[in-house]
Amino acid sequence: MQAWHKRKDGSEYWSHSVLIALRDDDGELKGFAKINRDMTDAKRLDDLMRNINDELENRVANRTEQLLAANKDLESFSYSVSHDLRSPLRHISSFVSLLEEHLQEQLDDTARKYLGTIAGSARHMSQLIDGLLAFSRLGRAAVNLNPVDLTQLVDAVVNQLAHDTGGRVVDWVIAPDLPVVQGDALLLREVWANLLGNAFKYTRPRERARIEIGWSVDPAVGYSFYVRDNGVGFDTKYAQKLFGVFQRLHRPSEFEGTGIGLALTRRILERHGGSIWAESELGKGSVFHFSLPFEGCNPIDAPTDSMPYALEP
């Protein structure tokens, strides 16, 4: 029996009591003995634990709700970007070309240049929006894990890049035995296309570019890969900034690009349970490393298709 009891001085205590029947040798009931134990401290501790647990559970439930709401907001946002931002942009772009057509000979060089700038900016913004959409879509898409032969995949990506070198000399040094990993082939192709594409792009000023691909096994993290180039490099203190959306370390006039590639790459690798990091020295070249777990786990797998339908009025 457990209950609150009152002491003689009026204070309360939590008691565990045991009631024992007292019998004589013949088994005749003679009376009862009762032992009370003061368990107040244990009870207080127990209650406290229970309260903390309840509160934690409430807090987790609230946070989860908030996160789900935030996630939904994000999805609505990307949906709006797709629908609502692309429209006016298309109007700007289209009516500028119609205007150019309409005025034709009446346009002087300055006017033509201004129209060209408007059209170019609209085109650039359209690329940024497409990049943003690709990035947000990736957060929602399912990752389909299958064995992926990286020797073949890297070969295909390199061939595509090497196909159009524009007269450049590029030495590709590829480890001959790249492993078969667990991953989403389409997404991993995107990773390699971005990293090798960057290496190709940022070695452009070199008379002879060298791009090296290798790997190792680290029992703690899984496979570890690297792409090393002798390109223009960057200051290592910006190494983390590189992987943010629309973060660029070069002017568009130096190297083209929207700044979405490495953000996408990081997101793909994280969705595979891996990670990416980089080191570099300005003017000497860069090394990009990334890891993939052996099993290709999905620690943050998102729902496959959760596009909100609610935006239509």
């Binding site: 797709s82 629908h83 692309r86 429209s87 119609l98 959409l133 239509e312």
Partner: protein, 161 residues
Amino acid sequence: MNTNADAILLVEDNPDDAELTRLALARHGLDGRVTHVSDGMQALDYLYRRDAFAERTGGNPVLVLLDLKMPLLDGIGVLKEIKGSDALRNIPVVVLTSSTEPSDLQRAYDAGTNAYIAKPTEFAQFLSAMKHVCEFWININQTAPQSGSTGARNTGFGDLS
């Protein structure tokens, strides 16, 4: 015989988009064939000859160009209505939208659209996408049977984008 058997119904709430689509169709020789309505309800009124279109003569349009995001009734709603109706089901529908979302593409095909065009940002590219629509229009007007209220029987119309 229908007086406007070769009409194209353009369902588009944004006047700028409507103008661009009309211009693109005109470039490919389909000027004057387009009837424009500004939302999904008007589209159904037109198709079912209700309200403002109660006095409409002629048969079904041979092609519906359908925006997705519209007030009152959206494109998917119109699409479901068309593809669920015995009288309208055979009208080819081309969804013409800004959206590049795979889920929109999926919803549109699930609802029975015959084609889906995600409108490109640049007018030149939009023109070339609309060229396919016009070739299709020419195609159905050459091969369509002369009898019946519906001009088109062509259902093998793939993705134009």
